[in-house]
């Protein structure tokens, strides 16, 4: 009878050790990917999603890091290019995204995209899905998309006996009617996205289908002239592109009674608007008008290995499950990128109609221009608005000058 307490010999010990190491190495086959994002206001939701993903399987581990707001994240990414610090997955703001692609910093994921079921691809909001398809490749994956909406002080409009405007003509009349000794009708942040919102909603475009800037169209002139005239009459409070905080403070202090901002700003605006009732609605629109999408795309960086690339795609694929899309929308107030998530969000939207403002514009949202130079053109637009609304330049001259600068940028 064998002695169960016999001391094992060296061969048995070695074999056992090898088996043990083999089992352990199975655990280390996990692929770890770093994910840089800028979701400050939805940090808890990002962390919760990542934790749930990591706990749901053993193959991929995501290390999510908040790297500051979009501008700061972009600077850090540029600093990390080609270094071991470069992330595998990066949340690229959509104005910056085409530049990243043009610089060859991202990977084409077309081969992985082809593996997606057709019903999944068809379920994406077309404008959002089209965004990442650039230069003949699938460089971006939708996540964290928004649209601009109009916010207003409900009490102020009720007191003035006004309805929320649905056209720009109504908007002008409403803003003038709301302006008084105490308050200005609207606060406007001179950010290119909001100017683009006005131009697109009037039926214009900032870049044509051939990628040529068209900043001096009649629609752009109409938009800039409207802002200029409202400002001149004292009905509009203008703030520069980097002054969104004082602009929001003006709104929550009731010094301005209407504002335009991303639907993703709704939780903050709601939280700080303690002194009045606030809600949100669709942007005023001309026939044939559309609105620009905002937010970001997820990109896989060039230096990622094949395993990391596939792991990043697996993580994104998991994020796109309706349950995760729903959790993300409820935590971030971004718009659902998949239609399958909309029924799951019925209660969320029913609880607060302001939340659904972006949903009402769901089908009229289109991508921002996807040319690499648009990142620079945004700066040109920001400066143009400053020159008109804080300086003495006429809208026509400013637009002509901006168009010349934009063309020079494209032809450089």
């Amino acid at each position: 009878m064998p002695n169960p307490f016999r001391v094992p010999n060296v061969r048995t010990l070695t074999l056992s050790l090898c088996l043990l190491l083999g089992v352990s190495s199975q655990g280390f086959a996990q692929t770890e990917i770093t994910f840089w994002h800028s979701m400050d206001s939805a940090l808890e939701t990002v962390d919760a999603l990542v934790a749930r993903f990591n706990a749901s399987q053993d193959e991929v581990r995501v290390d999510a890091r908040f790297v500051g707001a979009y501008a700061e994240g972009q600077t850090r990414l540029l600093g990390a290019f080609g270094s071991p610090d470069e992330p595998v997955l990066f949340q690229a703001e959509i104005g910056f995204f085409p530049r990243l692609v043009a610089e060859g910093a991202t990977q084409d994921l077309r081969d992985l995209e082809r593996q997606l079921p057709a019903e999944l691809v068809e379920d994406f909001v077309p404008g959002l899905w089209a965004y990442g398809d650039i230069d003949g490749g699938r460089h971006g994956l939708p996540w964290g998309s928004s649209t601009p909406v109009m916010y207003w002080n409900v009490d102020a409009l009720r007191r003035a006996g006004l309805e929320p405007p649905t056209t720009w003509e109504e908007f002008e009349a409403t803003v003038d009617a709301l302006t008084s000794r105490q308050s200005q009708g609207v606060v406007f942040v001179g950010d290119s996205w909001l100017f683009e919102m006005m131009v697109l909603s009037l039926g214009g475009r900032l870049v044509d289908d051939d990628g040529v800037p068209t900043l001096d169209t009649p629609e752009a002139l109409q938009a800039l002239t409207l802002l200029d005239e409202l400002e001149a009459r004292g009905s509009l409070a203008f703030f520069g592109a980097s002054e969104s905080t004082p602009a929001i403070l003006g709104f929550v202090r009731t010094r301005s009674l209407m504002a335009f901002a991303s639907i993703a700003n709704w939780p903050d605006i709601r939280r700080f608007s303690v002194a009045f009732d606030v809600t949100a609605g669709p942007v005023p629109m001309a026939p044939g008008g559309v609105i620009p999408l905002g937010g970001a795309q997820l990109v896989v960086m060039k230096n990622a290995s094949d395993e990391e690339r596939e792991a990043a795609f697996t993580f994104w694929r998991w994020l796109m499950e309706p349950e995760q899309v729903t959790e993300w929308v409820e935590g971030s107030y971004y718009i659902p990128v998949r239609r399958a998530a909309v029924p799951l969000l019925e209660n969320f939207y029913a609880e607060d109609p302001g939340r659904a403002a972006a949903l009402e514009q769901y089908d009229m949202a289109i991508p921002r221009p996807r040319i690499p130079e648009f990142d620079a053109i945004r700066g040109i637009l920001d400066q143009m608005m400053e020159r008109v609304l804080r300086g003495r330049t006429s809208p026509g001259d400013a637009l002509a000058d901006a168009q010349a600068q934009a063309l020079a940028e494209v032809n450089r």
Partner: protein, 145 residues
């Protein structure tokens, strides 16, 4: 100087302070209004100056150095809150807005915060010197009683 005369001077100083803030605001493009009526705003400034002077007159008349200065500092610190509160109450009453919770919150929360921001951040170069000068005059006149 009698207490009544002192309060009369306080009213005059309140009205003058209002005129300075209103004019400064217009010149610097800052909205300083607390209510929809210029007269309600002027009345709120005037009444606030009178009420606070009545409250601190005895400290200025008979108090020691520390007490007098402390009363002056508290006067300046309380002024925007009390003025905006009075203006808000007047606006709600005159326009019949007591039934609307948002309007009540605007008048009683946004109003005081707005006037505080106006006095310190937006129009500090006008409001603070006017406030300090006004209190200095009132303290001096009270002492002469």
């Amino acid at each position: 100087m009698s207490r009544t005369t002192l309060l009369g001077v306080a009213a005059l100083i309140g009205a003058t302070g209002f005129a300075a803030v209103e004019t400064g605001g217009r010149m610097m493009g800052v909205r300083t209004a607390m209510t929809s009526s210029l007269w309600l705003d002027a009345a709120a400034f005037t009444l606030t100056a009178v009420l606070l002077t009545a409250l601190y007159a005895s400290a200025w008349e008979r108090g020691g150095g520390v007490r007098r200065i402390s009363a002056g500092v508290v006067y300046v610190a309380l002024f925007p809150f009390l003025a905006a509160l009075l203006a808000g109450l007047a606006e709600l009453t005159v326009l019949g807005l007591w039934g609307f919770s948002g309007e009540v919150r605007t008048a009683l929360i946004a109003g005081p915060l707005n006037l505080l921001a106006t006095f310190t951040i937006e129009l500090g170069v006008v409001a603070l010197p006017v406030g300090i000068l006004s209190v200095g005059v009132l303290m001096y006149l009270a002492r002469r009683r």
